[in-house]
């Protein structure tokens, strides 16, 4: 037995191991709900007994054994039918060693693809990723996604039942399906990240935790699929964006734009890791650009620039041009136009920004126009655009930022 670690460290160990134990249990039982119940019970026991008795030599083996015993109890309690009994007996043998690491990695990967299956609604995939892959409790998932707990419980239950009853397989897709299915997985993880990073509402600290969970998921995927460039690029992109977390809001909780951020507050270790991963992703995708890798390259240009003024705009623009060849979206076009404005001046940028269609409901589009009008000295046009951005009701921090920009432009008493 080891000495007792702190409660927080213990909870981290239990949570990290719990996900792996869960993956094994899902394989053994073929039932996500049953596996989650069994693992929840095992982790609860661990948190109760380890601080008292010390952490066992092999925490994973302990958790796996406890969870398997619990699963057998649950199956027996549920039904007295002989078939169920046989199922329970199959779980019982062999009860010795936990599966080796490569088997656990396979189990986890299968669980990832099950949770992010296209037959499940995207909201259900996101909820399952947080509950099942990150090991958050249902109330934690509900709080993080700003959904009432009862709604979240129902959503998760329905998703698990669909997996079981519709026969969603617990399997890594074959080579033909893999690219499309992998794109589904990265989308879910990036959605989780943006829920946290974009802070579309709710408490900032809770949302930060969500970004942490997404980065954890990104690391897990990268560990399981080191050769998939999209996964490498996704992790790089999240690390680089998240490196700015401490500088994105000032002491009053107000939004600070990239141009005005205190770059000494960027997390250098994350920048370094993100840049290294970006390079790795670029080497793997020479000739066939991947949207995540290219977005990470853009983020790396910003992350490595000592000041906003010394951002390598030519490089940023080149990367945007590459991005548009594989990921031509209005938001990507806006990013390119903003970079163009920095290099060639507000007039050139504004011409491109106003020509982008499909962003009427996107506050940054209006804000970018306002900023450029303001630089061109057209106060009335700038005021109109800030007002349009505000009318779209962005979250509180963005709203305060917009009001601050709008303030000096309002006529006295207005």
């Amino acid at each position: 037995m080891h000495a007792s670690p702190t409660d927080a460290a213990l909870a981290d160990v239990v949570r990290a191991e719990g996900t792996r134990v869960l993956a094994t249990l899902v394989r053994l039982t073929g039932d996500v709900q049953l596996a989650e119940d069994a693992v929840a019970d095992a982790t609860l026991r661990a948190l109760q007994t380890w601080p008292r008795d010390g952490v066992p030599e092999q925490p994973r083996a302990w958790l796996t054994l406890t969870a398997r015993r619990r699963a057998i109890d649950l199956i027996r309690r549920e039904s007295r039918r002989a078939e169920k009994e046989a199922e329970a007996m199959a779980l019982l043998e062999p009860l010795g060693e936990p599966p080796p690491d490569d088997v656990i990695a396979d189990d986890l990967l299968r669980l990832v693809f099950t949770c992010c299956h296209p037959a499940l609604a995207v909201e259900a995939q996101v909820a399952l990723a947080l509950r099942t892959l990150c090991g958050l409790t249902t109330p934690e998932v509900a709080r993080a996604l700003l959904v009432p707990e009862a709604t979240m419980t129902k959503r998760l239950t329905r998703a698990r039942q669909k997996i079981l009853r519709a026969g969603i397989p617990y399997r890594v897709p074959g080579p033909a399906e893999l690219p499309a299915r992998l794109a589904g997985v990265t989308t879910v993880v990036y959605l989780v990240f943006n829920e946290g990073y974009g802070a579309t509402g709710g408490d900032v600290a809770v949302r930060g935790d969500l970004a942490d969970q997404a980065v954890r998921l990104g690391r897990l995927l990268h560990e399981l699929m080191p050769d998939e460039a999209a996964v490498t690029g996704l992790l790089a992109l999240m690390l680089l964006q998240d490196s700015r977390r401490d500088a994105r809001f000032d002491a009053a909780g107000d939004l600070v734009l990239l141009a005005d951020q205190d770059r000494s507050r960027w997390r250098r270790d994350q920048v370094h890791e993100g840049v290294v991963l970006t390079g790795e992703g670029l080497r793997r995708t020479a000739g066939r650009p991947d949207p995540y890798v290219v977005q990470a390259a853009i983020a790396a240009c910003h992350a490595l620039a000592p000041t906003w003024e010394r951002t390598p705009w030519d490089a940023v623009l080149s990367w945007y041009d590459v991005l548009l060849t594989v990921h031509d979206t209005p938001v990507a076009r806006l990013g390119r136009a903003v970079a163009l404005a920095e290099r060639d001046g507000p007039r050139a940028g504004l011409d491109v920004v106003t020509g982008i269609s499909g962003l009427d409901a996107y506050p940054p589009w209006h804000a970018a126009q306002a900023e450029l009008w303001s630089r061109l000295g057209d106060v009335e046009a700038a005021r109109r655009c800030w007002t349009a951005a505000l009318a779209l009701e962005p979250n509180a921090a963005v709203r305060r930022h917009l009001r601050r920009r709008l303030g000096p432009l309002n006529p006295p008493g207005g």
């Binding site: 299956h117 037959a119 009853r165 519709a166 026969g167 969603i168 397989p169 399997r171 897709p173 399906e177």
Partner: protein, 114 residues
């Protein structure tokens, strides 16, 4: 092995009409290719021939309504029963049903008999 019902929803039509000959050939090609998993299936007569029956409580009055259960642009025009290992397999077969490319195919697991 689980069975799945593939319900085919498309614009309404009389599939016996010669104008649907090409589509009928597409369906025959699908059925030939899917023979190993196909456990049944039929095209239905137009939704205008449908009668919807409701009984007011068990043993109560029978109320018949002219027309399908729901009035929608896309209607149930046929179905297949597929026996597949899992939903992935059923989904990949469903994607090859001609109705999937000019309408939609709903895949539902069939409740095993007891």
């Amino acid at each position: 092995m689980p069975q799945y019902l593939a319900l085919i929803y498309t614009v309404d039509g009389d599939w016996s009409d010669p104008q649907y000959a090409e589509m009928t050939a597409d369906y025959e090609a699908f059925a030939a290719g899917a023979a190993a998993v196909l456990r049944g299936g039929n095209a239905l007569m137009p939704a205008t021939t449908a009668t919807t029956i409701r009984v007011k409580g068990k043993g109560g009055d029978v109320v018949a309504t002219d027309g399908p259960f729901t009035e929608t642009k896309e209607v149930l025009g046929g179905y297949f029963v597929l026996e597949c290992a899992d939903l992935d397999e059923a989904m990949s077969w469903a994607a090859q049903i001609p109705g999937a490319w000019n309408g939609a195919v709903e895949v539902r697991p069939i409740l095993p008999r007891g």
